[in-house]
């Protein structure tokens, strides 16, 4: 086939796929003509290994896919979500609490009342009380119990003292009676209710969890549920003493997780979950191809797995299969990160030029094209701003293929444009270290980035590392550029993007997530062995390190009310500021979450909070 014909064919194919995407995307729920019925078993395939960060122990578990299991099937929290897609799925609703409390005491006190009729599953078999929430919070605060997002709750009075072992309880949490719990904070915190929707805050029975103190992850195999399902075999576990407790049969931590109905669950207390199926069975499968063969054969109904491109194309473009193809916003941004202390990216002109030159459409094509996501135009996905920044595209180029003229115009004025021709011509622009991973998509991405950057005079020396995150998270390695990162929300508040990614005060030696080092100070640079220029930002030259710490502090205490959405507007302005005055990244894609279901599934729904299938809302043929 000649090259022009190939090009036309590629364009037509992409257009066809994009049309299929437009039809498929944005749907909150997809039902077949079969009536939704209760009963049956939902069989879910899981590729390669569960990959849980804490074995599914709610206290420490931080994997997004695990949130879908915990939040839908096992753990109720004081406040939760409607387990649906889109903006409605990111709205907080009461779960165990009778209502969403309004903060009092200048925004520093939250009082929750617990609904009657909420019980733990067997073998605990008793009502949930306010003390069970205290147990959960204390486990979260105790560093030895493996809590991985305990930092969200440092705003609770007495948290740090308890965590340091200096107090026997968290003074800011009080339980006036069995059905009331009060949180007193050190400062107004506009997203506190979101923080209380996280699975680690769900009630836990002390009579069981005390047996796992100091052993992160071990509680998971004896997790006591408060939601519609429980681990198979948990009712047979002997909890009379710690030595008697054995792991429930239904979860071995490695190959399977089988859930059955929780007999103590009262659906009248739960307005957010339908729990259609009788059982949910998660099984690990070594091969993604095998998983999709089984979905086609009806042996599996759904999968948490990468989708082979051939399967993706088949389901996206075959009319009879489109109803099994589900696509929703993943609330995740993929981006190229530039270290603003390392040349040539220590100059804002260069960072802006990179935003103009990168062919984002080509990057997305390496992942599979329009079926896998939308082109990203700023930091936070539009879904988290209720699409109010949808038209904000500060570096928009024709077809998102990059614009050389604009890139060169942006480069002019840079100290690295030694020839004055709009290219990065200084020696520091050559052989810049780029860290790349070894996924299937990375070679294609690297090739695109190298080709684009070369047009403005930047050449890269690429180092491929399997599992690149630990390398780019180590500040002392002074990595100038990386193509690997992506970031998804923890909950539907933009603070979960901005604080870990751009707050200079959270920069740590290893495990650092502010890869660009926005807001880093000279003293931090000395301590962390940063070799580049850490002087404060000079807007006249475009050199130095900008900071957004004060803007973050301004947005954090704000609360959205019915009258105004001051908090969202504040973060929108921060996003714009970052894209025009800091420019730490080249954001290039907001990825979709794509799932394929079998013909057994009669009703599919997506959970926007966890960005996973809403297991509690899916029905199958029974």
């Amino acid at each position: 086939m000649s090259r022009p014909v190939r090009r036309v064919a590629a364009v037509l194919l992409s257009a066809g796929v994009a049309a299929a995407v437009l039809v498929a995307s944005g749907s909150a729920a997809r039902s077949s003509s079969a009536q939704i019925k209760a009963g049956g078993t939902l069989n879910v395939g899981w590729e390669s290994s569960f990959g849980f960060t804490d074995n599914l122990d709610p206290t420490g578990e931080y994997l997004g896919d695990a949130f879908g299991i915990l939040d839908n099937l096992l753990v109720r929290t004081l406040v939760g979500y409607n387990h649906t897609a889109g903006a409605a799925g990111n709205q907080l609703v009461p779960d165990i609490a009778t209502a969403l409390p309004k903060p009092t005491n200048g925004g520093k006190t939250y009082t929750f009342h617990i609904k009657p009729g909420i019980k733990f599953s067997p073998p605990v078999n008793r009502a949930v009380t306010s003390h069970d929430f205290v147990t959960a919070m204390e486990r979260l605060a105790n560093p030895k119990d493996g809590g991985q997002y305990a930092f969200y709750y440092k705003v609770i009075k007495g948290w740090d003292a308890y965590a340091a072992g200096k107090a026997k309880s968290i003074s800011g949490i009080s339980t006036p009676n069995d059905s009331t719990i009060v949180f007193n904070l050190t400062q107004p915190t506009g997203d506190f209710l979101y923080r209380m929707s996280m699975p680690a805050t769900g009630p836990q029975p002390a009579e069981v969890t005390k047996c796992f103190e100091g052993q992160p992850g071990k509680y998971a195999q004896d997790l006591i549920s408060t939601a519609g399902y429980m681990i198979e075999g948990i009712d047979k576990v002997d909890i009379s003493s710690c030595s008697a407790i054995k792991p429930a049969d239904g979860y071995d931590g490695q190959t399977h997780l089988f859930l059955v109905r929780n007999p103590n669950y009262d659906p009248k207390t739960d307005g957010t979950r339908k729990n259609y199926v009788d059982q949910v069975r998660f099984t690990v499968d070594a091969s993604d191809v095998d998983i999709y063969n089984k979905i086609e054969a009806g042996q599996l109904d759904l999968a948490t797995s990468s989708i082979p491109p051939s399967v993706l194309q088949k389901y996206a473009t075959t009319p009879s299969l489109k109803r099994y193809f589900h696509q929703n916003s993943g609330d995740r941004t993929w981006y190229l990160t530039m270290n603003i202390t390392q040349p040539p990216f220590d100059d804002i002109h260069v960072r802006k030029a990179m935003n103009w030159i990168i062919d984002k459409a080509a990057l997305r094509q390496t992942w599979g094209g329009p079926t896998v996501g939308q082109i990203a135009n700023h930091i936070v996905p539009d879904t988290l701003f209720n699409f109010k920044l949808q038209s904000y595209k500060p570096y928009k180029t024709p077809g998102d293929h990059g614009d050389l003229a604009k890139a060169k115009a942006a480069m002019k004025g840079s100290k690295y444009d030694t020839k004055g021709d709009g290219t990065c011509s200084a020696p520091q622009c050559k052989n810049v270290l780029m860290i790349s991973d070894t996924r299937g998509v990375d070679p294609g991405m690297v090739a695109t980035i190298q080709q684009d950057a070369k047009k403005i005079g930047i050449t890269f020396k690429v180092r491929q590392i399997n599992g690149a995150y630990p390398t780019i998270q180590t500040v002392a390695k002074n990595i100038p550029f990386a193509e690997r990162p992506g970031w998804g929300k923890d909950y539907a508040d933009p603070v979960t993007f901005f604080e870990p990614l751009f707050d200079g005060r959270t920069i740590i030696p290893t495990g650092n997530t502010n890869y660009s080092l926005v807001g880093i100070t000279q003293s931090q640079c000395r301590q962390l062995h940063v070799t580049g220029d850490c002087s404060p930002y000079n807007p006249k030259t475009g050199l130095g390190v900008p900071s957004v710490n004060s803007m973050l502090d301004k947005c954090e205490p704000l609360v959205n009310t019915e009258a105004n959405d001051a908090r969202t507007v504040c973060y929108e302005n921060l996003d714009k500021y970052l894209m025009t005055n800091v420019v730490p990244w080249v954001p290039w894609m907001w990825s979709y979450v794509t799932r394929i279901t079998s013909s057994n599934v009669t009703h599919y729904q997506f959970d926007q909070f966890s960005t996973t299938p809403a297991y509690s809302m899916i029905s199958v043929k029974s």
């Binding site: 960060t53 420490g60 493996g146 991985q148 499968d285 091969s287 063969n293 390398t471």
Partner: protein
């Protein structure tokens, strides 16, 4: 002979410990970052990293960790003997994981080995006896195909055609023998055949070449001249002498498959020891990797010993002091 076996067993222990030591060294010295980061979430705090590093004993030098490992291995730990510690990923004891998965790999190897040994030798003998005739051409063509076709492709094609389209076998995944022989067999027959194909091709060629060489020896001509039946000449005199190299590679192949049948295990979702090792390596799960390395190293050493003993029976000239 007994003294020889005892000496070899003692050397086996030394070899296995050396292999484990090298694994420790490589793991600790590889510049791949701290595995503790994996268990501290996407926004790890310094406190979490420190605590997790201590909990996983990554804060001690590798030779101290090696010392603890050797001690637990010989004396056992809370999970019994040998003590292999806990997986970093899910806190399950490595010993129980290996006991759970070893049967899958061992059944895979046993079935495939039976097929490739009997099939490969039979085809090799037929090919040698019918040299340059149609059976020989067909056999060597089959051998070429078997050696050339990648295992993963063969496996996927086999699943697609035999299971998905023709419904002749059970699909992927391991079914224990306790669930019924028929069910167990239907899930293993395809992986057996796929894994055996490559080796069968190699063994067929090897048997053919060795047998042709042996059949050209003077003593074979003498045996024929004495009027022995051709079957006796080929099987009793010819094949027996040709089997020595076959036995050598058979022992090694079996041993290496203990931790190395990763592709077959992945394609057919058997999740045996090879898959366990691969996952462990990907997630920097040292205890799991060590457990499988130990199994594989021990299997190689013991199979080498078995091969040497079998030599003594095959070849009367071989005697061990």
């Amino acid at each position: 002979m007994l003294l020889y076996i005892a000496r070899r067993l003692a050397w086996t222990v030394v070899v296995v410990l050396a292999v484990v030591f090298v694994t420790f060294f490589v793991f600790f010295k590889l510049p791949n970052g701290n595995p503790a980061l994996r268990f501290c979430g996407k926004s790890p705090t310094p406190e979490c990293i420190q605590l997790t590093t201590a909990r996983l004993h990554l804060d001690k030098p590798f030779y101290i960790e090696f010392g603890y490992f050797v001690k637990n291995f010989f004396l056992g730990d809370e999970n019994g003997w040998p003590g292999l510690g806990y997986s970093y990923g899910n806190y399950v004891s490595v010993r129980s994981e290996i006991i759970e998965r070893a049967p899958r790999t061992l059944w895979l190897i046993a079935g495939a080995a039976t097929i490739w040994l009997t099939g490969g030798v039979a085809i090799g003998v037929l090919s040698a006896v019918k040299r340059r005739r149609l059976p020989d051409r067909l056999a060597m063509g089959f051998a070429l195909f078997g050696i050339s076709a990648p295992v993963f492709w063969l496996g996927l094609m086999a699943l697609f055609i035999v299971w998905k389209e023709l419904h002749l076998t059970g699909g992927s995944g391991y079914v224990p023998l306790s669930d019924g022989v028929g069910h167990w067999l239907s899930h293993l027959i395809l992986p057996w055949c796929v894994l055996a194909l490559l080796y069968m091709a190699i063994y067929a060629r090897l048997t053919r070449n060795n047998l042709l060489e042996t059949l050209g020896e003077d003593y074979i001509r003498t045996a024929r001249a004495k009027g022995l039946p051709e079957r006796t000449v080929i099987f009793k005199h010819g094949l027996r002498a040709s089997l020595t190299p076959i036995v050598t590679i058979f022992g090694l192949d079996i041993a290496l498959l203990v931790g190395g049948a990763i592709i077959t295990e992945s394609v057919f979702n058997l999740q045996g020891l090879g898959w366990l090792a691969f996952n462990g390596a990907e997630t920097q799960d040292l205890p799991t990797v060590l457990g499988v390395v130990l199994c594989t190293a021990t299997a190689v050493a013991i199979m080498n010993l078995v091969v040497d003993i079998v030599y003594a029976f095959l070849d009367p000239r071989v005697r061990y002091a």
